[in-house]
Symmetry: C3
């Protein structure tokens, strides 16, 4: 089962993903894409860590997500990735177009074939006003395209608002 | 019945809330959280007032919402609060963390137990790009958490887009 | 059939609109509202053009949309307008309130009565944080009101997220 969970900021999407991962009764590998570069980010990361069961394994992978999935996915295990938009943002901040394309392709090409269960969490960022900032527009474009590609390959897609889930697929 | 109505800017959420309040055939107390600090805001407030039936009672309460609800809620009456995001914004602009926490707690702790019917209107603000501005990020976080808490305690949650309602709960 | 397709940036709304237009097996007139004023816009326009069947007719109309629809709508044909938010943005940038009101009214008054099938595509822009910029706020207001008016007059309204459609109406 490949599942994509989308939602706005503070929509409860991470909590839903964690509940669903826990409910599988399988081993859970949590892949965190966040990089702690300031106090606010440290706080956000710590808050999320405290919410997770202590026996889950955690892997921090801000950039090479496709490789991390290929190396770690296996039958009888759930991988929860939280979240894709931070990973995308990390990639775009490298300002290296060919690196960006390689890593994006790496994820999109392995996703469907990975063994075991996968739950991907990502932020909806495209339903507000289009920003002045060119990098922000680029980020919105890339996030939207990524969501479309992954949604097309996912068995289940859920949109979370105020902690409540709407099933977009199937 | 406790109901939360969410939607983007100019989504028709206030109109839907007013229709639902009117359809109950009960007395309606309208609690406005807006503060008129400039011409644009005056205009927005006046436009909303003209849309409401003249026999509804109106109470302006930009800050002490929990207290206003506790003092005014009663069986056989509907209270319509429009809107929570402005109240949250008013609280955050006070820049007094303990005042903020007290007032937030006051609302969250009384909500479920209030007598009579309650319709809360609030803006979805977290589905666009995350802003540069730290206060705006804080506001998005607080709005998202508030929506999650209230949605969990509500009997009915509705999301409005282009004047059209989607039932998120039950 | 009058249809409104809403969705965030890069949500797949244009592709869905094109699929639905193609599926009618009727002649398709594509009305583009984009004005190519810079390289980024040229690139976005070219990308959209390459996605469309070459036998579709294309009309570029950044401002006089109501007139273009009245002159071209006919039985047995589909008109696809992509997108309303760009048209609205073009109108607002003219900074001529009476021109703006005339053109908006022209669209809203003819829409329901136009012969043939119509598919309108528009961006959801009101579910992020309210921007500081007064013109941006005005744009959000106008887009929201326009969507409400057109949704009320449409037979079908669809919201697209990550390429997946949710039926808002009927």
């Amino acid at each position: 089962m490949k599942e994509l969970i989308l939602g706005g900021a503070r929509s409860g999407k991470s909590r839903l993903a964690e509940q669903r991962a826990g409910a599988t009764q399988q081993d859970v590998l949590y892949i965190a894409t966040a990089q702690a570069y300031d106090d606010e980010m440290n706080e956000r990361i710590a808050r999320h860590q405290n919410d997770r069961p202590p026996h889950w394994q955690t892997l921090e992978e801000p950039l090479y997500l496709g490789r991390a999935l290929q190396e770690n996915a296996k039958q009888g295990q759930v991988i929860l990735v939280d979240c894709l938009t931070l990973w995308l943002s990390n990639l775009l901040c490298m300002d290296d177009p060919s690196f960006f394309e390689t890593e994006k392709k790496s994820l999109l090409e392995c996703y469907r074939q990975l063994p075991g269960q996968l739950i991907l969490v990502s932020n909806e960022v495209g339903q507000g006003i289009v920003p002045d900032n060119a990098l922000a527009r680029r980020f919105i474009d890339e996030a939207g395209w990524l969501h479309q590609s992954l949604a097309a390959q996912s068995d289940q897609v859920t949109f979370v608002t105020a902690g409540l889930a709407q099933q977009l697929k199937p």
